[in-house]
Subunit: 352 residues, 2 copies
Amino acid sequence: MIDMKNILENVIIDSWVERFRRSPNQVNQPHESDAELIEMPGDPDRYMAVTIDTVAEEISSGLYRDPYTMGWITVMASLSDLAAVGADPLGLVISVSLESSQDRAFANTIAQGMEGACRTLDVFILGGDTNETSYVSLTSCALGLVMRKNLMMRRGCKPGDAVFVTDGVGLGNAFALVRLGGYPDDYFPEKSYRPIANLAEGRIVREFASCCMDSSDGLLATLDQLMRINQLGFAIDGDWEKILAPKVMEFCQHTHTPPWLMAAGPHGEFKLVFTVPERSVDSFLMHAQSKGFSPIHIGSVQKTPAISLLLTNGKKIDVDVAPLRNLLYDLKGDVQRYLKEFRDIGRKWGLE
Amino acid sequence: MIDMKNILENVIIDSWVERFRRSPNQVNQPHESDAELIEMPGDPDRYMAVTIDTVAEEISSGLYRDPYTMGWITVMASLSDLAAVGADPLGLVISVSLESSQDRAFANTIAQGMEGACRTLDVFILGGDTNETSYVSLTSCALGLVMRKNLMMRRGCKPGDAVFVTDGVGLGNAFALVRLGGYPDDYFPEKSYRPIANLAEGRIVREFASCCMDSSDGLLATLDQLMRINQLGFAIDGDWEKILAPKVMEFCQHTHTPPWLMAAGPHGEFKLVFTVPERSVDSFLMHAQSKGFSPIHIGSVQKTPAISLLLTNGKKIDVDVAPLRNLLYDLKGDVQRYLKEFRDIGRKWGLE
């Protein structure tokens, strides 16, 4: 039994959840889906999906400096949660807390980032709340409807299911490493970090997937969480050329960064990680292709609850992602020590 | 024509709204309702209602010191918006930003305040987001469903309609004055400030009302906003014994505070201010009474777009609430000057 509670983030979430009564109409258990799912009286075919996300630490830590990024990510983060449950958005509400000293241009650029993200996905901001504070904090709450028959949850995969990701990953980690690791900004300009929630892909995936989660915490953390929820493991091709976005591979070669870091780091992006039952893989891929969507097949679900990486040199290693995930909490704020200890773990695994 | 834009808060909201495209499925125009209202495909009878509210300034200013209050108000503020549009809640999602140095007891008490508010109204928290920050900021997003035929908006009253409030007001302002005005805390203990969103009353009111808004910005500001939206005025009984809660009148007598301040101050509570067409008043009151609900009839809608107070001494004065509402923005942070200039305006009106 792989324990959910070995992950500090899960413990923090549970400490909140256990204080609250559970709605008799709520469909998902805690941790079980990217968005909360609730029955609507009189609607036997659909669920309401709702999710809330605050972007604050990424701003105070200096990770995001461009207000356009702040607005963009705020909107995309919550839409990505809707994509991961197979929902179609009804809209968003936002809450914006800004410093009173902040100039008008700063607020305008945040709004442009939010609206840019909305236009990209044909979604609308319905309203919101503004506050004058001594810091910047941006919250987005997205709501949508999902057909019950198309619902995707994090729970549901079976041994033998094929594991896919909607597209090459690693852009979030490459950007974060440039920002916090002392590389020149132009190695990965913030302006080029504009991840797009996979709503369109989610509409295809939801017809086939046995489970789904977005990659907002990075690929390996996503697989680790899916492992704990499903009590099953994943045999993943440790073929970074296939798994990482081409731009990320270029960055790794250019900076001599070991590519595994781009799959293991905690600053993900909004790809979907999902599983498809073996018998449906062919029809899924045919359907995806007909829509111009080329998901990446990265491995399969295995009975053993472990993340097994099949490296291109033929070696197979089981990696314990928990220490990586918890490191964020253990070393809060100390970025240099974080980067060092993170790589030490990978060396122990035999990845460097 | 009374301009919406004479109120700085409306200008700030508009500066955000104008940056965003409007959803073709959104029912309400900006300022027109307490919650955002959106059509749901395939549901011709209902709208989805959604609202978001952040409690941050009330914490940083020292107005709320008890974490139970912080949690309670966060939940009640968004549920009150649902009550004001006539919606039945589906649930809430919350986002909690806390200082990492904050002890566990502090977070627990916030959670207890949230859960206490939810239990009081038989509503459930569905999920949320947590963040470690250098400040405390609490956001709640409530969603609900409203029957189209029962929808209440801020727009819709007609001259001659009767004006009601669900119950005596002023508790929020009494509490704020004790807190910020230098009175001993036990004149209005924070533990006794537990306003309850009027969801039950809203279910009755929605069958009769021509417009509705909650009193979260104080009674006079609410009437002023309704005046601007409807381009109509209100003749209000300036009979503070009738309008203010008994506890508030006691506080005023005890501290020699002029009662008008309790209706005029900006820290309201979650009563509903609403209008009922003259022909429906009797059946409304009969129905309300049968449910044990005794709304207070405080005046009527008039053609002249002004707030006219009919004082108990027989005088009728028209009050311009705009300077009071804008004072918050003009004198941000300077509480003593705010209190002084606020009272000066009332003196000019002839209320002191």
